[in-house]
Subunit: 434 residues, 4 copies
């Protein structure tokens, strides 16, 4: 921490130490004052370049300051476009809805109502859980080990992380915790286990309002559920009268190669939550998609001041139009994902580690939080911003912009490779050569 | 509703009806497609002008698209300033913190840590309640009749409105409801009542983690607490080891004439929540101010993706510098507040109604939700956007930009006056003349 | 405590200190080993006589070992009558039900179903609250300051005493605490306050499943509600769709002069709970009376092993037949109550204290727990068993058997009078003469 | 049910239908008016004899009306022994404590404090859970599939049965449900699973205050945990700072052959709950045994009126002296258990069913609730009282008095054998011959 303080002070001032709450998080891993950012590069206040393999935790799938989004936003602000209009009808909102209908819903034959919640993923999850309880008249929610859904009391109850849960300061109720796919090893089918407990009239798990699951657990260790398992979970939900909620906040918006992370699985969720990269440019924006038959909200029953972030409507529309009008973006992600898998796979194999995740959210499970932390710290020294994931922070997680060019991508991967060597095999020739 | 649909369809499309969730709220009162906005004026897509006496529910205290904020934001975007940086150190954040320290904290001799929560008021309240419970090791929170604190499960439990509470779908626990000042009439001291119950070892109200109160209840009917009552509540909190939390989300940022709504009362809250107008321009942004001795968060214990809305940092800094560098803005608000009180007072007197609120958040209690609703609808016909407040939506509430020029202010007030006449005294000469 | 130990050890053994949990309660006030008991007299193991002005906290309204109940029980046991039969049909149960119908329900034109709960008052209250929630589909329950309803989690949530509540070890939810009659002084109508909060859609008190109230708060300080106030509370309950539950566990079975403590008030409760003196002889026994239209339990939905205490059925039947076949018992209670009021009134007046309670549950509010405790300790020295009541244990409470003969009654009252003198006026002639 | 009514009406009266709540349970399976009972025989009001293979759900392990207990009780009542003395020191209580110390604790080298809770098993469990939460400062409790712990809100939360849980009328919180031993088949170690989830900082199961488990699940289908599994659970509890609570209410007092059901396993529970047969004669009585270091209750912190059922103290003392002074009773139970296993085993084998349970709580899992119900109904026709167990009521459960003589035991088992034949093999010769 003293290092942090000193570095920043040298950079400019001690204001962060003076008046920012110690709850701050990422600035501890990256003790640097940043200024500008473009594409996959972030610039320190001193001009030093950092490759961004964190991408706002998947909020910057299209990179920093996409020029088309920038232009649209500047044009909008310049022309006095409404910035804040509560949830009133605005042209910016209309433009987003039309694009979302045309480019996302219709091509996928999806029929959903869009609920603009408060502009955080947590709020989208809270809205989803409230609605599921309202629709079913039940209160119990099934959530999974390593699940991550937000910090507000309803979402936090569904989140698995003990450190976050303790912050609640009060018992977190209303959630039954079930093991995610593969939690007890590859040969144990945790969906069957959940079904058995729910089928059993003396199983002690109350009939659920919802089963809430992330297709890929981004914070919980890059655990990627299979389509077969998710399909089973969906069936269990429907069999037991529960709503099937997919939390696609971190894995969506192209991160796994398609707009929704579960498109290839043939699922039919009752509710989908979105946030992070939805605005295209990293602006606060969240969405809860609801099957029309479940849209039983009374007007204003879940309201909030910032449900209409019009700047985000503008940039989100550009993002949809630019990246989702045809399948070229998906194809490029697939290509990069394969490349990522190859390169990470090689590193993992060298050290006997295993790969985790799917698409452009893959990582290496180092089995140990300190190791993974040291590797990420080493990467940062070398100009790469990258973070860990998992209950023990044991996974080195690659979450770079999907738009990154191949050279920079490889440069970042080279840094990771070197950092693994530096930390795990200090006497290897390449490191010695440095 | 059919009218709404038709109007909007004529305007452009039926997209809102097709795919927006029916939870939408304000668009029902103002069935119009809006495009641009400047100062206190909002423009319909067809160019029609509306005077804005709602101001994003106090999120636009400085008006729409303040030119200095616009310029700063455009400059920031143009120069590839970081839009999204999680909670990393950025120059935009540093600029905001420095300005907040220099212009807000120091001149008021306030010593607080700033916690950037998810960018919604609800999230700021959730963080405040979580921290109070963590600090005290208790779970019970005292909140008040007509209190409004947000829609996520923790904040919703503290909110009084039954319609909102029912949306929770699950029992809302952890809050004891106490009557706000004046709830049982002017002669009943509700602070004494609360104290008696807390003092009583058999009173049945558990020792509280916090007492959470709005200095002016913006949604709950413009109930303005007196300094004396708030001081008593603060003393009760300290006496019983509870944190005293002021929710200044709607009443803060100049709405009552000073940056914090309670400055003149000599209070010393343990936690203060801010949001709404904090960004200056209506961008999502929220803050929880914490006395340093209570800042016991563990790193990342309450995290979230959009805690660093850098665009908001930029505009918020400009807002502080432009409006809070000296007392001229406060003075102008005081002047306008007096004018508002005079004009609303005259209308209220004419119909035997009473005034509610304080500063630039005043309204007329019509005693009846239908009456107030009809008056607001009539205002909208005449080009004024204005809403109701209160448990029965019985208060016609004026929440215009604080920067409104006097002519437009009076024009809006004229519309209100006319609307009262139109609804309550249809045969009066002036209305007949129209 | 050392005294306690020593005394008992001298009496016989140290077994209580060795292996009884320190949670024990009354044995601390009365550190004596007791053996037999008859009528209103308890005998120490050494033969010393104590007048019983505690009567098992109103569980021994008919005195210890009533000879008719003894005879019936001995006869029943001798003849191999079923002691334990779960909730099967037994002749003992049939006998009780027939007597209850003939002697209690029919003469009072009451139409209730009898639910035999686990044989504790807490269990009767738990059953009442569960049923009210089931009937209404709501979860919130209104309970009052100083209310006492039991120690199990559901009943404890409704109990006001902080010391008891802390024993729960977990937040106690589902109850809104309202002030009992007179809580804020005689001129404040707390029923009106409750009504205002419930009527108010923004009052923040959820629509209740039940309003739970004791006609006389036995543990909470002998607060006797007036008929007018209870009638108001009943109306509020019905107006708001809540069940009106009277907890008559301590005040019932003749304690106030009639079988139910509220008979004179013309109330029509949805549910009534009974326990304590119901068995007649102090055996564990409890009952929840339910309006037939609310008896929507599914078979066995609230079960329990000891719901059919057949010994209690036998003695309870005798109690009904012996004491409630005509109005002579009621008349004698009324006479004694008047006598009690006169004598206690005289003492209270002498010291400027006020009387509390109603019927044969009256006491003197000494305003101070230490004083009341000293008085009770002094009484015990002089051979009288008596306890305090109230949030601060400030009330000296007379709860003697209703069957006590007048001589013994006066002897006990003399001891109280002397104890007041001894503690409060040590230099008075009478005490000096001793 | 009409049959029930008619039968009972013919027997005597329709009083049960008229005024008993429909929540009644066992009287539905055994629609008969009973009068007397002795040993293992219950007599109908008409003198018909029934063999009792239910024994008050294990509350009558020593049979009905044991002559020595009868004599002691009659003597006690005749001599005006205190029936109800709150929790004061009485000679009856002293006698029980001395016997418990001498005959139960000392021979087993057990060091526990005895807490007399309200006289129901549920109350003993509530006290255990409250204390565990108080001791640990945590709120989460681990309970198991098919667990049964009582109907009051705290105990009900730990109970698995859906039908009972729905009776709560409110969400039941504070319990994480884990699979009991063998729940997922013999090859899946559910203790390991629990450990993995608790070890995992992102497992989402909060650090528990207690792990609560029945050594044999009496209501949940006669699932007998192995010593090895219980030992593992104990280790997990200690490793995670949780109290290990054994609920021995149904399996204790000799039912499995020893006074505690887990004696042979070498366990060291922090808390043990007892009730059912503890009084010896079926009188309401319950006990929570607490390791001295956990006995941190404040005086009266968990109180209750009937904590001192002195009649039960008397009979319980006799039971201890008569049956637990040497090992002859244990040996006779072992012999009968072997006989039971042989005979039930033969029946089970004939129909391809499996045996469940341990000691004198064994049954046959018919895999189907209707079948088991039909068999029990057939038994009742033939003069045997027997009930089902399990989540689907699929197990025919033998719970006869442990003191039953071998002839009557075999007579009852013959009836069971015949009933299986009658229901499952109607055309078999033996049945045809009837």
């Amino acid at each position: 921490m003293t290092t942090t303080t000193t570095q920043i002070k040298q950079g400019k001032t001690g204001i962060f130490d003076r008046i920012e709450s110690q709850v701050r998080s990422y600035s501890r891993s990256f003790p640097k004052l940043f200024g500008k950012a473009k594409g996959a590069t972030i610039y320190g206040h001193d001009g030093r370049e950092y490759i961004d393999f964190l991408a706002g935790c998947s909020s910057l799938n299209y990179g920093h300051n996409d020029p088309d989004m920038q232009a649209a936003l500047i044009d909008y602000v310049t022309s006095d476009g409404i910035a804040h209009g509560l949830d009133m009808f605005t042209e910016a909102k209309e433009g987003f809805l039309l694009a979302y209908e045309r480019l996302i819903l219709r091509p996928r034959n999806m029929d959903y109502k869009l609920m603009f919640t408060g502009p955080t993923g947590a709020n989208a999850v809270e809205a989803a859980l409230k609605l599921a309880r309202k629709v079913t008249g039940r209160t119990n929610v099934i959530a999974f080990t390593n699940g991550f859904h937000g910090m507000t009391l309803g979402a936090l109850a569904a989140t698995g992380n003990a450190g976050k849960r303790e912050g609640g300061g009060t018992p977190l109720n209303g959630v039954h915790r079930a093991p995610f796919e593969g939690y007890f090893g590859p040969e144990v089918d945790t969906a069957d286990m959940l079904e058995q407990m729910l089928d059993d009239p003396s199983g002690g798990v109350d009939a659920p309002a919802a089963i809430l699951v992330e297709p890929v657990q981004g914070e919980g260790g890059l655990n990627a559920a299979s389509g077969a398992w998710l399909k089973k979970i969906e069936k269990i939900a429907k069999k037991h009268g529960a709503l099937f909620i997919l939390d696609d906040i971190q894995a969506g918006c192209g991160r796994t190669g398609t707009f929704f992370s579960f498109e290839e699985f043939g699922l039919d969720p009752d509710i989908i939550t979105q946030a992070k990269s939805l605005s295209g440019m990293g602006l606060p924006f969240a969405l809860t998609l609801i099957k029309p038959e479940h849209d039983i909200w009374k007007p204003a029953e879940h309201n909030g001041t910032f449900r209409g972030n019009n700047h985000a409507f503008v940039t989100a529309r550009v993002a949809l139009e630019k990246f989702w009008s045809d399948d070229s973006f998906s194809k490029s992600i697939a290509k990069k994902s394969a490349h990522l898998e190859t390169r990470l796979g090689a590193i993992a194999e060298r050290y006997g580690f295993s790969l985790r995740g799917r698409g452009m959210m893959q990582g290496i499970d180092t089995q140990d939080g300190d190791t993974a932390g040291d590797i990420c710290a080493k990467c940062f020294e070398k100009g790469l911003i990258i973070e860990t994931s998992g209950g023990h922070d044991e996974v080195v997680k690659v979450l770079c912009p999907l738009t990154i060019d191949m050279d920079l991508f490889d440069k970042g991967l080279d840094i990771i490779e070197d950092a693994f060597e530096a930390i795990l095999a200090k006497d290897s020739p390449r490191v010695a050569a440095e």
